[in-house]
């Protein structure tokens, strides 16, 4: 129950952040990806402040993890694997889809809450894509 509440709050803050930063707007995301045209660097600043604040969270989790293994695992993330082909091929495919639509998974979900119909169409493509990719990865 407590973990559901904290997760709901995290989701609300995440969605608010996507809305405030303009990242639910696919034309703004494409404006960032159009680096050779007239470039909108906004997305880079979203990444900078999000990473800085997350870094504080990671440091707090690592500090607290001295006595708790579960925390350390989460702060360090999934067991580190090599930079392998699925990582690079998958990321390249994601980048192409991102460039075509201006949507990555978070904004696609958040924009659904705004009744923005293109987000619903992206989500209809996204879910089978996730399913196939998970099957391929086993």
């Amino acid at each position: 129950m407590k973990s559901t509440l904290s997760s709901l709050i995290a989701g609300l803050l995440f969605g608010a952040g996507l809305l405030l930063s303009g990242m639910v707007n696919p034309s703004k995301v494409i404006g960032f990806l159009d680096i050779a045209g007239v470039w909108d660097p906004s997305l880079a600043l979203v990444m900078v402040s999000a990473i800085l604040v997350s870094w504080i969270g990671v440091q707090l989790a690592l500090r607290r993890a001295a006595g708790a293994d579960a925390d350390a695992d989460a702060a360090e993330g999934a067991p580190q694997r090599d930079i392998d082909r699925p990582l690079l091929i998958g990321s390249a495919l994601f980048g192409i889809g991102w460039g075509i639509t201006g949507f990555c998974p978070g904004p696609a979900v958040a924009a659904l809450g705004m009744g923005f119909w293109p987000a619903a169409v992206v989500a209809i493509g996204l879910l089978p894509g996730l399913w196939v990719g998970n099957r391929l990865s086993g």
């Binding site: 995290a10 996507l18 639910v24 900078v48 969270g57 993330g77 090599d82």
Partner: protein, 152 residues
Amino acid sequence: MDIAWSVFTPWHSLAGGLLIGLAASILLLANGQIAGISGILGNLLQRKGLQSWRLAFVAGLILAPMLLLPLLPAIGPFRPSVPIAESMDILRLLAGGFLVGLGTSMANGCTSGHGVCGLARFSPRSLAAVLTFMLAGFATVFLWRTTWGLPL
């Protein structure tokens, strides 16, 4: 390089990123989980593991814009740019969405999982993922606009 000053929103972007980082930190500290949206959605689809926190997170993600949009005039200068549905054709959105789902599940992460959470813990895998999807995104938009002459 030309900067699009008229649409550049540095303060909104920094503030929005701060909220995203706060959300990722809360999920890490309170739930011991990584705020990676593609992973959360993928695990929900596969009905794998404990689902209640994932459902709650996705509910929050959808609810936040619903709750905030009516309040926007009161937020003043922090008004976000609302998406515009012009020049969006359905096949493009479907195909792109499929590639986003396929790619992020193969790579085990997207802009949030690799881009925010992964880089915040200096993961080399995440750095490789971010460089790859950024370059692929830049190249796609460039080709889309110049070589194929399609509307953005």
